[in-house]
């Protein structure tokens, strides 16, 4: 989708009810694309995994014989040709069966749903921090350009962007757990457990969002409509809520959608550091163990989330700036 809007968005909503018809058609097309994307991802992961090592060798004890390893392979259903395994897998998938973990002796779906709330929790908390800190800092930097606000915040933003999660996390643990004993260093046992993982996860995204927001606000501030609004005596609040926020929200939303995906991915490292029992930890463990069914289930979930986030973003574009939805349906 191309965003080709010159000039500010007019305040009154154009289109009305008529705008919904192209949107439903558009959604149908998007759903079709999503299914194809999911199938592609599933297939790629299925075959890539099977090229990457043999779970039976990892599962077998050190003193196992070749026959015992073959036996394990047979029990896991890995001794039949790969295309056969693939067909079996797709068949199971259509029945909603994601397979059974080789290592943990539980259905992959159960393992995933046990871990998902933790990751969703962490990601939402980090997303909230990203929006608040990122958009807030970005606006302050733009509005105090060259002044104290920018001078104070820019180094923080640069630091946030430069520090990798594994370093930020350990640093936070050293300061807040080891030195001051105010926050738990790992796990999810108390209400405060979420704070450090969320801050760690959000630091990079917040920095990115802050920079994009700053750029977007600066661009808008030089526009005529702002000057007009000001000259008409619009108050600061009115200027931010009515005019500025709406117009900077399209680029900010784009980067937020991308960052949400990054947050989900970044949670792998953060969850490792803070022993957060989410999907990220499960991912590392299952990849190391070559626990194929679990890895496949995680990938399907991740792909679905990406697709859904993109879809939601596109829909929100339509609400913020109806010209976008109309433009895109006209284009394709």
């Amino acid at each position: 989708m191309t965003v080709s809007t010159a000039g500010p968005v007019p305040w009154r909503r154009s289109g009305g009810a008529r705008a919904w018809l192209p949107i439903t058609r558009y959604l149908g097309a998007r759903a079709g694309q999503a299914v194809i994307a999911l199938l592609g991802v599933t297939t790629a992961v299925f075959f890539a995994l099977r090229l990457s090592g043999d779970p039976a060798q990892l599962l077998a004890p050190q003193n196992a014989t070749q026959q015992q390893i073959d036996q394990i392979r047979q029990q896991l259903g890995l001794s039949v040709p790969v295309w056969r395994q693939y067909l079996n897998y797709l068949g199971d998938l259509l029945h909603g069966n994601l397979g059974y973990s080789y290592v943990q002796h539980e259905p992959a779906l159960t393992l995933l749903t046990q871990r998902l709330p933790y990751t969703v929790n962490l990601t939402l908390a980090a997303l909230a921090l990203t929006i608040v800190l990122g958009v807030g800092a970005g606006m302050i930097m733009a509005l105090t350009r060259g002044g104290w606000g920018e001078r104070l915040l820019m180094p923080l933003v640069l630091a946030g962007q430069a520090m990798p999660a594994f370093w930020t996390g350990i640093l936070l643990i050293l300061v807040f757990s080891v030195t001051f004993h105010v926050l738990p260093s790992s796990g999810d046992n108390t209400a405060t457990s979420l704070i450090m993982p969320a801050v760690t996860l959000a630091s990079l995204s917040a920095a990115t969002v802050a920079r994009v927001t700053r750029g977007a606000v600066l661009e808008q501030l030089s526009r005529d409509y702002i000057r007009t609004a000001r000259s008409k005596g619009a108050g600061t609040w009115r200027l931010i809520w009515r005019h500025l926020l709406r117009n900077v929200s399209v680029p900010v939303l784009t980067v937020l959608a991308l960052e949400t995906a990054n947050l989900l991915g970044g949670s792998v490292v953060t969850e490792m550091i803070f022993a957060w029992p989410g999907v990220g930890q499960l991912t590392i463990q299952s990849v190391n163990d070559r626990d194929f069914p679990v890895v496949q289930a995680i990938v399907i979930l991740a792909a679905t989330i990406y697709i859904v986030i993109n879809l939601i973003t596109d829909i929100i574009y339509g609400f913020i700036d109806p010209r976008i939805a109309v433009t895109s349906t006209e284009a394709g």
Partner: protein, 516 residues
């Protein structure tokens, strides 16, 4: 300027408002299920343990990785134990045993032992525990450990085990056998049993948060002495720096899988490092079949003299390692005491490489990130110093295994590894590593094969010792592998914890004491 300032205040206010919203969404922690239990029975301290991963199974019939052991062996009783001081097999659930003939053993099962669901533990439960591991449909990862057993049967308090051949390691492996309740397992099924294990051990299962935490509490019906620690939270903390931080911040009192590098850090934070030599040996194995330069025994001999063993033990392992004279540890039965330790003679090694015509040739060293990179690099430097060119190929564990276990033997020349059979016997090391045609062996010598085959089916300890002395004598000449050092297990702990870890890495919480 004024306008800008006002903008700024507004933006700050916006931030604060949204901050309030964010605080609402971050404060709750849905999804955190039952944990922090263990307040059920009588008073006593709670121990929090950081394990390097979540136990792969709580059903003791399935997995036997260190972390699973550390948790489920406290919930279940084992058929036999080892005396931590002497390493001798001693009674536990079996109060006595007798060998009826070369392949038949009978065990008398302790009376009055109850599972925590109140059902009595019988010889039939012990037999069932063995049979289910042997059942191919159950797909137990421990099947190979018990594969010498032909059948197990229980009647009353007598357990009868028949082996396929006279098996000298049977008792060794039976120290790793946890006894499960047949009736309960059959009633709830294997999957439910793995999620909610019921055993007869000193602790009983309370709750688990999969991937994160298992909580156990003292079993009030336990037949043995009452443990001092009332409940245990076993947490999975993958990151080693976080495990150290948990100890320092007091969130955990015990952490496993620490490295020699952590010890100074722990000690400076007034914590203690508990360590014990284990039967785990760090080793190099050569490809003698398609290894290029290492097909030549002279080159392998030269490499064995090129390695600065004491530097590995003292500088890299910081003293948490002991020298060995073969790919085995002195804890294992069959350790060839009469062999001299490896010697470090780089000048002679260089000479031998030259004589073998291998000077300047490239050898590929296979390893994986599972093993210490600094050790591998130190060995690389040592071998390069005597005239060979060493290329390290580090692949993840799955790929490493696929490569080195390939029957085509085209994985390179040298591989680095660590070995432990959890059996304290040479049979679990020499046979799988060097016998012709095993998955690990890229070496073949019929004389050696015969000796280890015979030792595998000989019961008399003295005869076995002499068979292994001969077998390891052949390995010392052929050098299909080099024992680098015996590895110490290191735990980090609060100074309030009293515990002496043992060579088997038995993680029996009942043996620990925690002062407040």
């Amino acid at each position: 300027m004024r306008a800008h300032l006002r903008f700024c205040v507004a933006a700050l206010a916006t931030t604060a408002l949204a901050g309030g919203l964010a605080a609402c969404s971050t404060s709750g922690t849905p999804g955190s299920s039952a944990s922090g239990g263990g307040s059920g029975s009588a008073a006593g301290p709670t121990l929090t343990v950081d394990l390097s991963s979540y136990p792969a199974s709580l059903d003791p019939g399935l997995q036997y990785d260190t972390e699973s052991y550390s948790v489920y062996r406290n919930i279940f009783d084992q058929l036999l134990h080892r005396d931590p001081a002497t390493e001798q097999v001693v009674p536990w659930l079996a109060t006595s045993w007798k060998q009826q003939n070369a392949t038949t053993w009978t065990f008398t099962i302790r009376k009055g032992v109850k599972f925590s669901d109140g059902e009595p533990l019988t010889a039939a439960d012990a037999a069932f525990s063995i049979e289910r591991i042997l059942d191919p449909k159950f797909a137990s990862q421990q099947q190979a450990n018990f594969s010498a057993i032909a059948s197990a049967a229980g009647s009353g308090n007598t357990l009868t085990i028949t082996t396929k051949f006279p098996s000298p390691t049977l008792l060794s492996y039976l120290t790793t056998l946890s006894v499960v309740p047949e009736a309960y397992v059959k009633k709830v099924g294997n999957a439910a049993f793995n999620l909610h294990p019921v055993g007869s051990g000193p602790y009983e299962f309370v709750s688990s948060t999969p991937g994160s935490e298992v909580t156990v509490k003292r079993n009030p019906q336990y037949w043995g002495p009452k443990p001092q620690i009332a409940s245990v939270d076993c947490r999975a903390v993958t990151d080693i720096a976080t495990r150290a931080a948990d100890l320092q911040s007091g969130q955990a009192q015990l952490a496993d899988s620490m490295t020699p590098d952590n010890v100074a850090q722990l000690k400076s934070a007034s914590l203690q490092a508990l360590s014990t030599p284990t039967e785990r040996v760090s080793y190099l194995a050569f490809n003698t079949i398609h290894g290029g330069p290492t097909d030549n025994a002279k080159v392998r001999q030269a490499i064995s003299e090129a390695i600065n063993y004491s530097a590995l033990d003292d500088d890299l392992e910081k003293g948490y390692a002991s020298p060995v004279n073969s790919v085995l540890t002195p804890l294992n039965i069959g350790y060839p005491k009469s062999l001299p330790n490896y010697k470090y003679d780089p000048a002679q090694a260089k000479q031998m490489i030259k004589q073998a015509g291998a000077a300047g040739q490239t050898v590929i060293m296979a390893t994986s990130p599972t093993y210490s990179a600094t050790i591998v690099q130190a060995i690389q430097a040592d071998i390069q110093a005597v005239g060979l060119n060493v290329k390290i190929q580090s692949t993840d564990q799955a790929t490493y295994l696929q490569k080195v276990q390939s029957p085509s033997h085209n994985w390179g020349s040298i591989r680095f590894g660590q070995w432990s059979c959890s059996c304290l016997d040479a049979d679990g090391v020499a046979y799988p590593l060097f016998h012709t045609g095993t998955i690990w062996s890229s070496y073949s010598n019929p004389a050696f094969d015969q000796l280890v085959e015979k030792a595998r089916e000989t019961l008399a300890p003295a005869t076995r010792d002499s068979l292994y002395a001969q077998a390891y004598g052949i390995l010392a000449k052929d050098v299909p592998g080099i024992g680098l050092f015996q590895i110490d297990a290191i735990y980090g702990a609060s100074t309030k914890l009293q515990w002496k870890p043992d060579a088997q890495q038995d993680f029996f919480v009942a043996d620990m004491k925690l002062s407040s």
